[in-house]
């Protein structure tokens, strides 16, 4: 993704500072992210990864600094604001309501209503939702025999694929994935990584947070390394090996 640098970034953070009381969680964090790019966000526990994605998604409000989405400066009052601006966040183990069908989950909070008076009374068009869910998922390469089964009937990898598919379906600009391959076996992880690649192919920017460095090296175009709330490296993935990445994370490379 060498050509992306000439385009305007879809997400830009400028000099973000964040404190929890007296604890400095983020210090002068700046970076740009472009459409069609997968960015790996790595760092040790407490390096500021969670603080950073919560700031981008509107859970945290930074003390200072700017968030610019698609050229527009933004202030989030709630996570809902970031959703409306085209940023979808998938938190660890939180994504789906297990007792609802796949289709209902894809449309959760954005339900299709029936036409006319019934729709205004809150009646749902369940058939349209199941049908569109199927289309949306297959668009990103997830094929499911039927969407009218509940999420609780799916395996861990399938659930994660559906959750990411949901994020892709609604995100206009950015999807943030927090440890999406956690607790998954090798084959299920591979499924999830494929879906991430597919999100990039659809022109989205993906922020991929993971402790599993081989996954990060496999799927990302660029890696941002955080340490003690600061960005210490921001470089193309091709310039890293597992060893050099580990060194950057732990601070041994200095």
């Amino acid at each position: 993704m060498t050509t992306t640098e000439t385009r305007a970034p879809v997400l830009e953070l400028r000099h973000i500072n964040l404190h929890y009381g007296s604890v400095e969680a983020l210090h002068d964090v700046s970076f740009s992210a472009y459409a069609g790019e997968v960015i790996g966000l790595v760092g040790d526990n407490g390096a500021g990864k969670s603080s950073l994605i919560k700031t981008v998604s509107g859970v945290n409000t930074p003390d200072s600094g700017e968030i610019i989405v698609d050229g527009e400066r933004r202030h989030w009052r709630s996570p809902h604001d970031s959703m409306m601006a085209g940023i979808e966040t998938l938190y660890q183990d939180s994504g789906l309501a297990p007792d609802l069908t796949i289709g209902s989950n894809i449309f959760l909070g954005r339900e299709r209503r029936r036409r006319g008076l019934l729709g205004r009374l809150g009646f749902l068009d369940q058939r349209a939702m199941e049908r569109e869910a199927l289309t949306q998922l297959s668009r990103v390469g997830i094929t499911i025999p039927e969407t009218n089964r509940t999420v609780s009937e799916l395996s861990g990898g399938q659930r994660q694929a559906v959750a990411i598919g949901r994020a892709i379906a609604w995100a206009k600009h950015v999807i943030i994935l927090d440890e999406p391959t956690n607790h998954l076996g090798a084959r299920q992880s591979a499924e999830v990584l494929k879906v991430i690649t597919s999100a990039r192919d659809h022109g989205l920017c993906v922020l991929f947070i993971s402790h599993t460095l081989p996954h990060v090296l496999e799927v990302t175009d660029r890696i941002i390394v955080l340490r003690l709330g600061r960005v210490v490296r921001d470089a193309p993935t091709s310039s890293f090996t597992v060893e050099s990445l580990l060194a950057a994370i732990t601070g041994l490379s200095e």
Partner: protein
């Protein structure tokens, strides 16, 4: 290249077999069979059970239970519990009876009296439900404790206000409670229509969908932009209103409000029993309208039918306990077998 992630599944069984299997392991289907079996059983033991008058009695007893059972369904599906429906029915019946007695004494048109009474019951019920909701959403009490508070306050107030005796006397109400078309009284018809409406809302509207989403994964619901707190408030207020309407139901049948009329402590537990027998999970997110309707029907038929076959009423609770146990075990078994496939 575009990735294709085939979500592999246990190969779809031959459609007919899976359909048959789904039906047989479906809790509502099982309940339907049980209900039919019970009716036939009681009828064979005592043919009086098949009389039309008894059918009318069953419908009336069912009506006294179904609204609080459906209220409980919403609350339980949303991941909560409401222990206050019985006492809310009692206190709203007592309060409304006191308010409308002057109208009765002044010989105001009975329809107007009952309408005002219904509104009064709904109002008191909404206040009780709102009180539970306040404790849960603002003071962060768990639903069990919050509604236990409401239950206790409501039951106490009902006794204090009524001084332990029936409040008011309204023969016009009793007279109206028997009117209707054939076996179905107007009172029963109104309650059945409300019940049907509650089913439609639960399964076909965004309101119902949010109720399931919150009970299934509150965090996901919030992340999806659902106003979780506001929704929970509305669910508890609705539960209170339905309990209030049940209070009015008992007022109409007996012509007075009493702290104990059919809405004693056990009403809460019978309502919860109907929901659990209907296949709902107390962990939230699971439960269906048809299940609760059938659960309430089974409980009604059992408690009436046991009397017909000369089982002492004291045994009814034991049988209800056994029914809950069987329903719960069936659910556990079903969940386990599904996980294994």
């Amino acid at each position: 290249m575009a990735a294709s992630t085939q979500i592999e599944e246990t190969p779809l069984a031959a459609p007919t077999r899976s359909w048959v299997r789904r039906t047989v392991t479906n809790q509502q289907f099982v309940l339907f069979v049980v209900l039919a079996g019970l009716i036939v059983f009681f009828g064979l033991r005592n043919s009086l059970f098949f009389q039309t008058g008894e059918f009318s009695n069953l419908l009336t007893d069912f009506s006294g239970l179904v609204l609080i059972a459906l209220a409980e369904t919403y609350v339980i599906v949303a991941g909560g519990i409401d222990l206050a429906v019985g006492s809310t029915a009692a206190v709203s019946g007592v309060v409304a009876a006191g308010w409308i007695q002057p109208m009765v004494n002044a010989h105001v048109n009975e329809a107007l009296v009952l309408l005002v009474g219904t509104l009064a019951c709904a109002l008191v019920g909404a206040l009780a439900g709102g009180f539970s909701a306040l404790l849960i959403t603002v003071f962060d009490l768990v639903p069990f404790v919050a509604t236990l508070v409401t239950y206790s306050v409501g039951a106490g107030l009902a006794l204090v206000i009524s001084r332990g005796a029936p409040v008011g006397y309204d023969p016009g109400a009793i007279y109206w409670s028997a009117s209707g078309i054939g076996m179905v009284t107007w009172l029963v018809a109104i309650i059945l229509v409300i019940s049907l409406g509650l089913g439609v809302v639960l399964h076909l509207t965004a309101y119902g969908r949010y109720t399931y989403a919150i009970g299934s994964n509150e965090f996901a619901a919030r992340a999806a932009g659902i106003a979780v707190r506001r929704h929970l408030v509305s669910v508890y207020v609705m539960s209170g209103v339905l309990a209030g309407l049940t209070g009015m139901f008992f007022y109409i049948r007996s012509g007075s409000g009493a702290a104990t009329t059919g809405v004693t402590n056990s009403a809460n537990l019978i309502a919860i029993a109907a929901v659990v027998i209907g296949g709902a999970s107390l962990t939230g997110g699971i439960g269906r309208w048809a299940g609760t309707m059938l659960g309430a029907a089974v409980l009604t038929v059992v408690s009436d039918g046991l009397i017909f076959i000369n089982v002492p009423p004291t045994w009814i609770q034991v049988v209800v306990g056994a029914l809950i146990a069987v329903a719960a075990l069936l659910q556990t078994f079903r969940r386990r077998s599904r996980r294994m496939t």
